[in-house]
């Protein structure tokens, strides 16, 4: 069974013919290791370690979002809810219950997935713009709930007091206060997530979500359960974003209320779009571009968000397929010559 080949999924001539099966097979086999290798080099080229870790975390967050927006074609505006839930659950599990950091992360991911199941079940029935508004409003519900439950979440001040210095893995322990070790740990988590993501995209399920993006009516006519597939994509996307949130909690040792706020939902959309929606490495490119831009602009002016907004408008107007999309188009052009 050549599960790695999207062409292997039955009944989807449209999805299969967009790329040559051979190229798709080779691409999907190497994209995860190649991405991880590229990310391993980040600390060498970026000015600070913290920036590099942020690229990993937000790139992963955008990658999770990309599964829903880029591949399934669903524009959600509420993904901060999953990032924030992952972060808060991890922090609370460590701080209040003394759970092992890895178990706490697992809990954070699972809770983010359950929340995605609930929000997805409510919102999946609406389409397009309506879907974006419903997801945004439901995520706001989570935001205000966290704001009110300040006994657990610290309310407006954010969650504190769960600093993790060492993650024990049986006989060995990782000192994650050491920047290089921390980077390696986050990268390992991201690598596992990327391997899973690559596998998901290359599976028949991955072919079906792309078919839904391209033509929902036809996918339904082909006999696929569109609603269930969308919901599954929503939940999977929430799981990845939950992991990103959990990593961010470990990295920062605090969970600011902002990690549930709707501008962070926008961040996922921005990064995915800037990097290239529906491309495998695009979200990381987007995270890199946005964070580096933010970093350098904030040195230069306190109003860096103005410049960010302008850059973003220019992207929508002139480069709708993002950096990754443009790079792929260039690559294809070169390949043909």
């Amino acid at each position: 069974m050549t599960a790695l080949d999207p062409a292997a999924a039955p009944g989807l001539p449209e999805a299969a013919s967009r790329r040559s099966p051979l190229a798709a097979g080779a691409l999907s086999r190497w994209r995860a290791p190649a991405s991880v290798a590229a990310l391993a080099l980040l600390p060498l080229v970026l000015p600070s370690q913290a920036l590099a870790v942020n690229v990993l975390i937000y790139g992963l967050y955008a990658t999770g979002y990309n599964l829903l927006y880029g591949y399934t074609g669903l524009l959600s505006f509420g993904h901060a809810a999953f990032f924030g839930t992952g972060a808060y659950a991890t922090g609370i599990a460590i701080g209040a219950f003394g759970l092992h950091p890895l178990a706490a992360m697992a809990l954070g991911i699972v809770l983010a997935g359950l929340l995605a199941l609930a929000i997805g079940a409510l919102s999946i029935r609406s389409r397009g713009i309506y879907f974006a508004m419903v997801t945004l409003a439901l995520a706001q519900l989570v935001y205000y709930a966290a704001l009110q439950a300040s006994g657990w979440t610290g309310g407006e001040n954010g969650l504190r007091g769960f600093t993790v210095a060492r993650i024990g893995l049986g006989p060995v322990g990782l000192d994650i206060l050491d920047p290089a070790t921390k980077y390696a740990f986050v990268l390992a988590c991201v690598a596992a997530a990327l391997a899973a993501m690559s596998r998901i995209l290359a599976s028949p399920f991955g072919a079906v979500i792309e078919a839904i993006r391209e033509n929902e009516a036809r996918a339904r006519a082909c006999g696929f359960d569109v609603e269930r597939t969308k919901l599954l994509a929503f939940v999977l996307s929430g799981l990845f974003c939950g992991l990103a949130g959990a990593l961010s909690a470990l990295h920062l040792s605090i969970v600011p209320l902002d990690s549930l706020a709707y501008p962070l939902s926008g961040t996922a959309v921005v990064m995915t779009l800037v990097g290239g929606a529906g491309t495998f490495f695009g979200p990381f490119l987007g995270a890199l571009a946005v964070l580096v831009l933010e970093d350098s602009l904030s040195l230069w002016t306190s109003h860096w968000q103005l410049a960010l907004g302008v850059v973003f408008i220019l992207f929508v107007l002139f480069l709708p397929r993002g950096l990754g999309g443009a790079a792929l188009a260039l690559g294809r052009l070169a390949w043909r010559r």
């Binding site: 524009l75 409510l122 919102s123 029935r125 609406s126 389409r127 397009g128 713009i129 309506y130 974006a132 508004m133 419903v134 945004l136 409003a137 439901l138 706001q140 519900l141 205000y144 709930a145 704001l147 009110q148 709707y262 501008p263 926008g266 959309v269 921005v270 779009l273 109003h303 968000q305 103005l306 960010l308 907004g309 302008v310 850059v311 973003f312 408008i313 992207f315 929508v316 107007l317 709708p320």
Partner: protein, 284 residues
């Protein structure tokens, strides 16, 4: 009493949701910067008020100024996106929101401005069934007047007929020789001016700050979703309903007021996925 101040709050939501709904119904885009235009409206009102000392002038000029800004935005940013996925416009207006918020921070600073209730409208009035703040009565009156005007313009004039036809089928309208781009330009400007009017009206009821737009955007969305996308009647009914729900919740359990809107929306969606007055074909 609490029910009543809910109606005044709801009236502001109605202004926001109407603008969102009109822009969506005609141009097919969701304006993510709508809350930010509401915020700009409040600042424009304060600006005019400080220069002229007249609240009435602020009420008139604020929306006009911001509406004019809306025309520029439509011409330069929205129009080039014609024919592209509606998602693109949504993303573009999201980016625009950043620009507007930071623009205001640069011009007016990050701190909130308090706005005093205009003297002629301060105090309370005795309506026989209780005492009501005059300003809130005034807000309800202005919104009712605008609604009446809008209803008349849409339902009773030739231009309104064209606008309603354009929402159904812009292609046919184009074939019939209507300059649809110009129509879109003015409809966008009108929607923005309505948001700005909401901002000016809200200014004395809450402090004016750069973040106030983001705070109302999700509520305006909830109102639009509850009412049904593109339905004017739905926007009005849902706006008032949400205002009342918020105020009554604030009375019983103040800390739940923010959550109530969205919980209410979730309940409505469970029963009617396309909103109270929405048509199943539109957006769902």
């Amino acid at each position: 009493m609490q029910l009543f101040s809910g109606v005044a709050l709801g009236a502001v939501f109605v202004m926001l949701a109407l603008g969102l709904s009109i822009i969506f119904g005609m141009l097919g885009i969701v304006n993510f910067a709508h809350g930010n235009f509401f915020m700009i409206g409040a600042y424009a009102g304060v600006f005019v008020l400080e220069r002229t000392g007249s609240f009435w002038l602020a009420l008139l000029l604020g929306p006009l100024l911001v509406g004019a800004l809306g025309l520029v935005v439509e011409r330069l940013l929205i129009r080039p996106l014609a024919g592209r996925s509606p998602d693109d416009a949504l993303l573009l207006t999201f980016g625009l929101g950043y620009v507007l918020v930071e623009g205001v921070r640069i011009l007016f600073g990050s701190d909130g401005l308090p706005v005093a209730t205009p003297e002629a409208l301060s105090g309370v009035a005795d309506l026989g069934i209780g005492l009501f703040p005059v300003y809130r009565l005034f807000v309800i009156g202005v919104v009712a007047l605008v609604l009446l005007l809008l209803w008349w313009a849409l339902e009773r004039t030739r231009l309104g007929l064209i606008v309603r036809a354009g929402a159904r089928d812009p292609e046919i309208l184009r074939v019939l020789g209507v300059d649809i781009q110009r129509l879109w330009l003015w409809v966008f400007g009108l929607g923005i001016a309505l948001a700005a009017l909401g901002g000016v009206l809200a200014a004395p009821m809450r402090s004016v700050n750069p973040e106030m737009g983001s705070a109302v955007l999700s509520e305006a969305f909830a109102v639009t979703v509850i009412g049904g996308m593109g339905s004017l009647l739905g926007s009005v009914a849902a706006g008032l309903l949400v205002g009342i729900v918020v105020s009554l919740t604030a009375l019983v359990a103040p800390e739940m007021a923010n959550i109530a809107v969205f919980a209410f929306m979730a309940l409505v969606l469970l029963a009617r996925p396309h909103g109270l007055f929405g048509k199943p074909g539109l957006g769902t």
